[in-house]
């Protein structure tokens, strides 16, 4: 069969409408800002030098990194017991429970964020319950509100890979540990947890990376008070005072951060395969 005929249409599409746009981001990140905020071609490193400004690191970059890390940790803490107890159920119930975890995520992202908007507003139920126990927390328009929305949005990306590793886990190893006198806690800590590490790492990568580039959740639940990487990028392109070349430099930086995380991940996967 002539593979070239099958290959080239898809490949051409990807090169033209995916690779070329990425290349253009890189080119424009070295350009100058035109008076309208758009592009005046040229070569300078000014856009990247501006990234060093500590204001960005205490603001959007810092927020993105901290919130991505917190989201990953909370998803891990919430998701692990769920994945573990689903994996231990008999087959029909197991599938149903897993399906129920995924089901809400087939609905539109904006619909789900909006549902949290109703719940988190100051007159909402949750704020009311918190106030009645003496906690007057701002939820909407605060990093806490954004965190709740992010955890909600990305929890299944943690649960699914965790479930996959826990479900395939060799039960005889746990039984052997019990026979040798290990308590359940010991067998969990020394056997199950280390063996489920691949799932934990895969889940963490799947949560951390998209959260870094998030724009909708901080925009809608943060109400402009929680600047993040994605929000800043959007502002530079579609905001009132656009600066496309600087926005392009931001996008390149985000890409570089993501590549770092991915490179680290693949390195880890390779190594664990080497050992296994």
């Amino acid at each position: 069969m002539n593979a070239r005929i099958l290959l080239w249409p898809g490949l051409a599409w990807l090169v033209l409408f995916f690779a070329a746009p990425l290349g253009i981001i890189l080119l424009i990140s070295f350009a100058h800002r035109s008076p309208q905020g758009i592009v005046s071609w040229g070569f300078n490193l000014g856009n990247y030098l501006r990234l060093v400004d500590p204001l960005y690191w205490t603001g959007p970059f810092g927020n993105s990194l901290v919130l991505a890390a917190l989201t990953t940790i909370v998803c891990l803490i919430l998701g692990y017991p769920v994945a573990y107890s689903i994996a231990r159920r008999p087959a029909p119930l197991k599938n149903l429970l897993l399906f129920l975890v995924i089901l809400p995520f087939f609905t539109n992202f904006l619909v789900r964020i909006y549902a949290w908007f109703i719940l988190l507003r100051p007159e909402g139920w949750i704020a009311g319950v918190l106030r009645s126990v003496g906690l007057d927390l701002a939820l909407l328009g605060s990093p806490l509100g954004v965190l709740i929305g992010l955890v909600y949005g990305y929890l299944p990306f943690m649960i699914l890979p965790l479930y996959a590793t826990l479900e395939r886990l060799d039960v005889t190893l746990v039984e052997a540990a019990h026979d040798l006198g290990a308590t359940r806690w010991q067998s969990f800590w020394r056997i199950i947890l280390p063996l489920s590490r691949p799932g934990m790492i895969a889940g963490s990568v799947l949560v951390f990376i998209p959260v870094l580039g998030e724009f909708i959740t901080p925009k809608l639940l943060g109400g402009g008070k929680v600047p993040m990487f994605g929000v800043l990028i959007e502002e530079k392109f579609l905001g009132r005072v656009p600066d496309w070349p600087f926005g392009a430099a931001l996008a390149v930086t985000l890409m570089a951060l993501v590549s770092l995380v991915l490179a680290r991940y693949f390195h880890q996967v390779k190594e664990s395969r080497w050992i296994g």
Binding site: N2, G10, V15, F17, P21, N108, F109
Partner: protein, 279 residues
């Protein structure tokens, strides 16, 4: 001591069940509240004013909803059709053919899945604004938002279709195709009569995935139409409603309807999948 140990173990087991239960409440509470509020009588989306169908009535008279719905369906169906053909062909070429620069093409075809959506969206915005539009304007042509959005949606959907089809292709029994070759079939005949029919369920799931992703997409649509001022799909319509100072009640209604549409689609997909498996 043994009793204490048993107590601790019972406590852990209970905590596990409780944590799972709470997570399910966390997952479904917002959805329940949303559906409830869509039946509120209030003039504001965020106030409960007793039961009524007002929000749905208002939705019917909203002049923006129909074009958004039409745009969404137009974009999703055209993008799905193109991406399914191209993605399936790409999977076949990578899995069955001998291709030069195999590793590089493979990486390129996976990239749209791992790269943050916003980066891809920004790339398309710059590509159309800085390369396509200037080039077309030389010939006195311009590009409208609809094809722009479809092009972007195809670009990320190809990868997902390719991944799903390729996984199935790898598991497929090669001996069936080899048998057809031995019996004198041409490579085109093998593809049409053996490989593609065997791949049909995977191609269908790939298409369904592409359709869902396209319907759901916000980033690529929003950026490649530079903010969606003149062209809105349903997600962009939702985003615009949420940006208003007082959110109108039809927001709850459209969100609820979208919720039930996705759930129905999923139920249908599962039913279909089940049928195929049984057959």
């Amino acid at each position: 001591m043994d009793r204490l140990k048993r107590r601790v173990e019972q406590f852990i087991a209970l905590a596990l069940v409780l944590d799972t239960l709470l997570t399910y409440i966390f997952l479904y509470l917002p959805i329940g509240v949303l559906v409830l509020y869509s039946f509120s009588a209030s003039r504001y989306a965020l106030v409960w004013g007793g039961f009524s169908l007002d929000a749905y009535r208002r939705l019917l008279t909203d002049p923006e909803i129909a074009p958004a719905l039409v745009n969404s369906i137009l974009v999703a169906s055209s993008a799905t059709a193109i991406a399914t053909v191209l993605g399936t062909a790409l999977a076949l070429a990578l899995e069955r053919g001998r291709v030069r620069w195999h590793r590089g093409i493979e990486i390129l075809s996976y990239l749209p899945i791992v790269i943050p959506e916003i980066v891809m969206a920004v790339g398309l915005l710059l590509f159309f604004a800085q390369a396509v539009r200037p080039l077309l304007s030389i010939g006195g042509l311009s590009v409208s938002p609809l094809p722009t959005v479809i092009v972007g949606h195809v670009a990320f959907s190809i990868s997902y279709v390719m991944v799903v089809v390729r996984a199935r292709l790898r598991d497929l029994d090669k001996s069936l195709e080899e048998a057809a070759f031995d019996l004198g079939a041409t490579s085109w005949q093998v593809l049409r009569r053996v490989t593609l029919p065997l791949l049909a369920p995977a191609i269908l799931s790939g298409a369904l995935l592409a359709f869902t992703l396209s319907l759901d997409d916000f980033y690529v649509t929003y950026f490649s139409t530079t903010g969606g001022s003149g062209f809105k799909t349903l997600p962009l319509y939702l985003y615009a409603l949420q940006g208003r100072a007082a959110i109108p009640p039809q927001m709850n209604a459209v969100a609820t309807l979208m919720l039930f549409t996705s759930l129905t689609l999923i139920a249908l997909a599962l039913l279909f999948h089940h049928r195929i498996r049984r057959a």
